[in-house]
């Protein structure tokens, strides 16, 4: 069995490099040679960084999609709350929700929730019914802006604008928006937001 049985947490119990089992003269010499070899080149430290569970390719389904050995940089995403205040990549605040997402949902033609800016500020007014469409719209605009920032190479976000638009479109046409809203919320919190609030795109 491994001679490191006592090797548990804490420095006190750690097997130290010098307390391996007694050796013969020649194996001790061999060991010194081995150690000397280690310092001939620059130190190499292999690191597995702590990552969010999803980080492999920054998507909800990334986990079982194949290449497990690809770690990549940490995932990044900004919340809709951030996007309410920050400058926007690619999209103008006055663009219409239904036009951008290719939908014709009646809710997004109402007063004060037609444009992207109105939808992302939608919580400023009381919900008109179950609040789910409001939440959905809020997350959808946030996700779109994350994808737009990613397309400019500024955010390691796992979805393209096309994918977000398709998700939103499908959700509204199947009526599944409550479920998809939860997914969008997860996607929008899938990582650290690297921008200061005064970022320019």
């Amino acid at each position: 069995m491994s001679h490191d049985q006592g090797n548990r947490s804490g420095a006190d119990h750690a097997a130290t490099p010098e307390d391996h089992s007694p050796e013969t003269e020649s194996s001790a010499k061999g060991r010194r040679q081995f150690i000397k070899k280690a310092i001939v080149t620059a130190p190499v430290i292999l690191t597995v960084a702590s990552r969010p569970v999803w980080a492999r390719n920054c998507t909800l389904s990334g986990i079982l999609s194949g290449n497990l050995s690809d770690e990549g940089p940490p995932c990044e995403a900004c919340t809709p709350g951030f996007w309410m205040k920050a400058a926007w990549p690619k999209y103008s605040r006055t663009e219409e929700f239904n036009s951008v997402f290719g939908t014709s949902h009646w809710f997004f033609t109402q007063d004060n929730c037609t444009t992207l800016d109105e939808v992302i500020h939608i919580h400023k007014k009381p919900p008109t019914h179950d609040g789910q469409l409001e939440n959905f719209g809020f997350q959808a605009v946030g996700a779109l802006l994350n994808a737009a920032a990613a397309s400019m190479g500024m955010l390691n976000f796992g979805y393209t604008e096309g994918q977000i638009i398709a998700m939103v479109h499908d959700a509204l046409s199947t009526g599944n928006y409550t479920a998809v809203q939860g997914d969008l919320a997860d996607i929008n919190t899938m990582g650290h937001c690297p921008f200061p609030h005064w970022v320019e795109f």
Binding site: R51, P52, I63, N67, G182, D183, T189, M190
Partner: protein, 341 residues
């Protein structure tokens, strides 16, 4: 470091623990167990269509609902011996496979996978509904069973010694796993190793073994007696089919196992079977990197992985001939090549 995990996983983790408390301990299998095979085909289809069916799969109860014929047929064939959990109020996972509403219900029909009411994935073509069910269920367990350290690995056992075979899809581990299981090894899982942090033991969760492309014929030839489900043409991965879990493995589903070997298997056409020791430290690093939730479990995850590698012998294994490969594994067992580091 920002606060993580996602809202989903922390919610579910709490729910899952509470539900287990309500479950009053381990399932008592001495009571009359009704299995899938005891239902008539029409009764099975009806239950799957209406309230759903609570299927006991290893330590989990999965409520499955579907009207899709290939899913119903697949469950009838490949889950024949699985127990139906009568308690209809309790399930670890709620899984529902259904066509989307609207155009894609009829035109180039698709299937959606619903998990606890959410849609985690984009739809797939309807022809892939059964593999979608299997793959989606793997995903459910991999995301939410955080009471275990979960590795992406096959797990088999014989003579009291379990072998963990890590590897991504396409490496050859699934074919080898299927061959070994057909050759008398007990199947604990073909995709997900569930390791208890408390005692380092492996919890079985045997499910149909997924086979792709040439592997399907290889296994048919190697073990003509095994049941293999219908093939689904999958445009990204090729053709997929599933091998039914042998009755012997099902009978021992509640029997936990202790890992003795970690073997990285790789198919290499024409190569003779070759087993080589590999560095334990490198293996530990690989396990930490590729476990689904080592990071999530923090210190405990690391220690569980470290203890596992400490007690196991670690190998790289290359093979091309399945007979030869199974022979090597049986020799490993007979000659008791246990760790002597």
């Amino acid at each position: 470091m920002f606060a993580f995990p996602t809202a989903h996983s922390s919610r579910f983790h709490q729910d899952s623990s509470r539900r287990r408390e309500l479950r009053e301990g381990p399932k008592d299998r001495s009571m009359t167990i009704q299995s899938i095979s005891s239902l008539s085909p029409s009764e099975l289809a009806r239950q799957l269509r209406d309230q759903g069916l609570n299927l006991g799969i290893g330590p989990f109860v999965t409520r499955i609902q579907s009207t899709i014929p290939s899913v119903v047929r697949g469950i009838r064939l490949l889950y024949a011996g699985y127990p139906i959990e009568k308690d209809s109020t309790f399930a670890d996972f709620h899984v529902h496979l259904a066509p989307p509403r609207g155009l894609r219900r009829w035109f180039r029909p698709q299937v959606l996978f619903f998990f606890d009411g959410h849609v985690p994935f984009k739809p797939l073509p309807l022809a892939q509904a059964y593999p979608f069910f299997e793959w989606g269920l793997n995903w459910c367990v991999a995301q939410y069973a955080n009471q275990y350290l979960i590795l992406h690995a096959a797990v088999i056992e014989k003579g009291g010694h379990a072998v963990i075979m890590p590897g991504p899809p396409g490496s050859g581990k699934s074919t080898l796993c299927a061959g070994l299981v057909a050759g008398g090894w007990r199947l604990l899982s073909d995709e997900l190793a569930l390791i208890s942090p408390q005692d380092g033991r492996l919890t079985p969760m045997p499910r149909p073994v997924s086979l792709k492309n040439e592997s399907i014929d290889v296994i048919r030839k190697f073990a003509p007696g095994v049941t293999i489900g219908p093939e689904s043409a999958d445009t990204t991965k090729g053709t997929v089919a599933h091998m039914k879990v042998p009755d012997e493995s099902m009978a021992r589903v509640d029997e936990h196992a202790t890992a003795a070997w970690v073997v990285y298997a790789r198919y290499d056409a024409g190569a003779p079977a070759r087993l080589e020791r590999r560095s334990k430290a490198q293996t530990l690093l690989h396990i930490v990197r590729n476990a689904f939730n080592c990071s999530l479990l923090g210190e405990r995850g690391f220690q569980t992985a470290a203890d596992l590698i400490d007690t196991c012998d670690c190998y790289d294994f290359t093979y091309s001939d399945l007979d030869q490969a199974v022979g090597v594994f049986d020799t490993l067992l007979d000659e008791g090549l246990l760790p002597i580091s």
